[in-house]
Amino acid sequence: MSLPDHRPALLPALALAGLTIALTAACGGSDETAGGETPADTIAVAAGDDACEVDATEIPAGTHEFEVTNEGSRVTEFYVYAEGDRVMGEVENIAPGLTRSLLVELPAGEYETACKPGMVGDGIRSPLTVTGESAQLSEDESLAGAAVDYQRYVQSQTAALTERTAAFADAVRAGDVEGAKALYPVARTYWERIEPVAEIFGDLDPLIDGREGDQEEGQDFTGFHRIEKALWETGDISGMGPYADRLQQDVAEIVALADETTLDPLQLANGAKALLDEVATGKITGEEDRYSHTDLWDFAANLEGSQAAVQALRPYLEEADPELVAEIDERFAETEAELGQYRAGDGWVLHDQLTQDQLKGLSDSITALTESVSRVAAVVADR
């Protein structure tokens, strides 16, 4: 959420940065494309509710295709992580029984694979070794890679956002109140993870995520929160069909724009911090989801999105300021642990069930994390 145009620092990267990266060309063909070239092989992944069997533990450097089959009963996700949970590739939103593929280019190094049944937590992890020569990247190359990494992340999120928003809109149009309530925080997760990108498109953000009272004079109250209000306040969504249509259209529009947008490293650093500010100002206070009280879903998503942006910068930061990286890792872990106390099933405890002491613990950990993450931008700018 936010009011339009309050963050002028976040402008489309291409207008600002000297980075010229051809990114989007590779994203046409396959289901979830991350790397680009034709894969050397296909690695089967059997994702269950309690297992994540990857049919390889050691592979050569290059582009690989992971074919992930959800054999469990819950929606799952599959990730390939480099050190510090830097996302090398991921496929979201794999429904039970479905198979989806992920193309990912992996330089030599140590990685982890993870399935996340229920789409929460650290997931079920296994080590993955990639053999071969590992090239030492220059600082500029590391930073250029950050933009590519993060764009890959954004594209994985927008794909899931599109699907989950469609499912939510379908439930609303069908008058399925319980179904829509269950889907509401899940669809928002993908939105909240990439908000720094979404906010670049100042006109669309308030249409999708504006809160009641944020609208300009004469502007209708639309988007997620309009439907949230109907779902939780009156339980009458008979008039919500047009709002569901509109939400789906606006999301489709912003997804098309976001997929084409590259954030420069400074924007990534500032975006990581901005996501934590979202937590501090909107989620801890319970303002964001004031009718549903599903603020902790958004909290978790903001935190994950912030971490994804920082981790995209990680190869550079590890050279430039390893102490800061260690501090940020520690504080992300502390914040996740603090938040982890309030997990409930596949979701989270509702905001209005948290005590003042519990909120203070969450607030303290976000405050400390923000102090650390706020120092990333200067490290990036000093290159």
């Binding site: 400074l266 650093a269 504080r331 502390e334 203070k360 303290d364 950990s365 405050t367 400390a368 994390l369 923000t370 102090e371 650390s372 706020s374 120092r375 931008a377 200067a378 990036v380 700018a381 000093d382």
Partner: protein, 432 residues
């Protein structure tokens, strides 16, 4: 008296540099310990209106921490912290960082070496900037360690300090009529920031809080204005929100033997190996029930306090500083009633003395439209048991109790002063 020297000497801007009107006379007046007495309501009636508030710097280093017998400044920001790490090293790092920031800010400098506006445009400034252009304003920063730092409320020795906890450092006992809010009581650490400009005090606390992120968490804080005690003989006795002069008989800086006896911890005292030269700090947020007080008669008010409202003289005497005579009789009764605050709190009857350093507060109004106001009582003493606790026990029958409620309580051990450039807050406790 350390005037900040040239800007940039330590890499930051001196806030004072811009203030050309601050002359050497400032330092001279301060050296005499008289600066605090030059200002305030006592001179407001003279219609001069132009005497600047005391704005110089108070030395940060010394045998004792500043902010105890330092002439009481006019403004307070007091903050209590919980330590949220179990890592002793992290805590020590914060104490060191705080000491350096306190050293800088009390000299009128920015909190960090880069300063509010001289750092990278992409980095958050290491000083928050609201004190740019403001002089040191006699800022003092005084740190204290609460009982729970040594042993947590559930009995855990988080930092290996339990064995070093002085015998005198324990939670205060309950008193009749206490209405304490646990959320605004206690704390593992405290910092008392006093200055003659509220913005300078708030700036100091805000920057220290930032430096402590992830290691300490603010438990509660209190703003205060209008010192309610004088701590030197030169200071005019101020009035509290009941309209009475308060602190006439306070321990004063000019009484070194009294301070040694009642305020400073002796090397032979429990914990004296690290606490000698320090003192125990007791805070009580005392809500004053303003509306009932304001509608009570002048006679009732004076009988409750035991002093004349105008002159501050003890009842039955003429001048403020006339000795209290508990035998004086008026109209067949004792001039100073045995239930009056002065009668019960006076050293003669309490059998002890404390150094009071409290401030008035007004925290807006309560939900019923009544002023949420009172005194944030601060006292320093050599031992809380023979200091505040003894005094407070004696106040059980105090007529004033009808008009006040104690709503928060805390006790801290304040270590001795930072000795030199390499010293830091708590070194003797953590490194000794």
């Amino acid at each position: 008296m350390s005037e900040p020297t040239t800007a940039g000497e330590q890499g930051g801007l001196s806030r004072r540099r811009v203030l050309g009107w601050l002359g050497a006379g400032t330092a001279g007046a301060l050296a005499g310990g008289a600066a605090g007495g030059l200002i305030g309501r006592a001179t407001a009636d003279d219609a001069t209106g132009t005497v600047p508030a005391a704005h110089g710097a108070v030395p940060f280093t010394g045998a004792h921490q500043a902010g105890i017998v330092t002439p009481a400044q006019d403004r307070l920001h007091f903050v209590a912290f919980d330590v949220v790490t179990d890592d002793r090293e992290e805590l020590v790092e914060v104490l060191k960082a705080w000491t350096e920031a306190a050293r800088r800010m009390t000299a009128g400098r920015d909190a960090g070496p880069e300063g509010a506006v001289a750092g990278s445009p992409h980095a958050p400034p290491d000083d928050t900037g609201e004190a740019i252009d403001l002089p040191p304003s006699e800022l003092t920063l005084t740190i204290g360690f609460g009982p729970t730092l040594f042993t947590s409320a559930d009995g855990v020795d988080r930092f290996g300090l339990a064995a070093r906890r002085p015998a005198h450092l324990s939670e205060l006992p309950p008193f009749p009529g206490d209405q304490l809010d646990p959320a605004t009581s206690g704390g593992d650490l405290c910092i008392q920031a006093c200055a003659n400009d509220p913005q300078v005090a708030v700036h100091a606390v805000r920057n220290l809080v930032r430096l402590g992120a992830g290691v300490v968490s603010v438990r509660w804080s209190q703003l205060g204005f209008g010192r309610t005690s004088s701590t030197t003989a030169d200071q005019v006795t101020p009035r509290n929100l009941f309209g009475f002069k308060d602190g006439t008989n306070n321990l004063k800086a000019e009484d070194p033997s009294g301070l040694d006896r009642f305020v400073w911890v002796d090397p032979a005292d429990s914990g004296g190996d690290w606490l000698a030269g320090g003192s125990y700090l007791v805070t009580r947020r005392i809500r004053m029930l303003i509306e009932p007080w304001d509608t009570s008669s002048l006679r009732e008010q004076e009988q409750t306090i035991g002093r004349a409202k105008g002159s501050g003289a003890p009842l039955g005497q003429r001048g403020e500083f006339d000795a209290v005579d508990f035998t004086a009789r008026v109209d067949g009764g004792f001039a100073v009633p045995e239930t009056s605050h002065v009668f019960l709190a006076h050293p003669t009857n309490a059998g002890t003395a404390i150094l009071r350093r409290g401030y008035s507060f007004v925290d807006g109004s309560d939900g019923l439209g009544r002023l949420d106001a009172g005194m944030f009582f601060i006292a320093f003493q050599r031992d809380p048991e023979t200091g505040f606790v003894q005094v407070q026990r004696n106040l059980r029958a105090d007529a004033l109790n009808e008009y006040i409620r104690h709503t928060s309580s805390a006790v801290f051990a304040c270590p001795p002063g930072v000795r030199d450039d390499g010293d830091w807050w708590g070194r003797a406790l953590f490194a000794g």
